[in-house]
Symmetry: C2
Subunit: 152 residues, 2 copies
């Protein structure tokens, strides 16, 4: 059980957390730098959720790094439950934000008009893709920790 | 364990399944009857997913009713795993479809033009709301069965 890959305090978990922090930061940057994202509700929602995922993943990456450094996995059942529930909620919210953004982009591209310049829409698309990757990584972390929790 | 509400073969599970079948049928009907849903990708996606949720929930409602009738919960671990995974995947897909639909409606209402007549947009909104309820019920079923599976 100690070596279950992806659970808190392992190298896989650290990689997953760093990946989540990286992809959610990329999603936030692509959406917010130089782009008027606040015109559309779905885009604001994505920015909000990515703003939640980044500190969560970064904090847990620090915890993983600390656990690897002191060679002792920090596994209290109550902490694990909080992490599993937090990951699960954030993964749901990320999926919802990514889908909402993707469908808005699809609609903006379909409707002719001054709604989406090609340069901006490309960035929105990249942002949605990064949010999807972030969702997959958060979901993987949640499942790995749930597995550990269920096997106790 | 036998009396855990919401697990396969209980009255709560039967109610959840009937609720899922009802709300997903309502979502499908509001979206498809007399409305040109095939113009938008998100709406087609919602119709597809609701078309998957309806037979799944209806079949499991029949299984629940049969288990209640013969007074014997049908709980093979392999069947439970299939049900939990199926519920989980369908609940994710329902959430994605509901969010995509909701964000498309929000955008259609925002953009002036012949894209969304008030009568049609009202129906789309109802359809998205029903899909959200269906997601919550499917998620509840999945969690209840996962609980049973984890407690073995």
């Amino acid at each position: 059980m100690e070596n279950t890959p992806g659970s808190l305090g392992t190298k896989t978990s650290l990689s997953l957390r760093l990946g989540q922090a990286m992809f959610s930061s990329a999603s936030l940057l692509f959406m917010s730098v130089g782009v008027e994202f606040y015109s559309y509700t779905a885009f604001c929602y994505l920015v909000t959720i990515m703003g939640l995922v980044i500190p969560w993943s970064f904090t847990l990456a620090m915890v993983d790094a600390y656990a690897l450094f002191i060679q002792c996995p920090l596994r209290q059942p109550s902490i694990m439950v909080i992490i599993v529930v937090g990951d699960w909620v954030l993964s749901m919210l990320s999926l919802a934000a990514a889908c909402a953004t993707a469908s808005s982009i699809e609609l903006l591209l379909k409707i002719d008009g001054p709604f989406c310049a090609p340069k901006f829409c490309g960035r929105y698309e990249l942002s949605a893709a990064m949010a999807f990757v972030s969702w997959i990584l958060t979901g993987a972390s949640s499942l790995c920790n749930l597995w550990i929790l269920a096997s106790w």
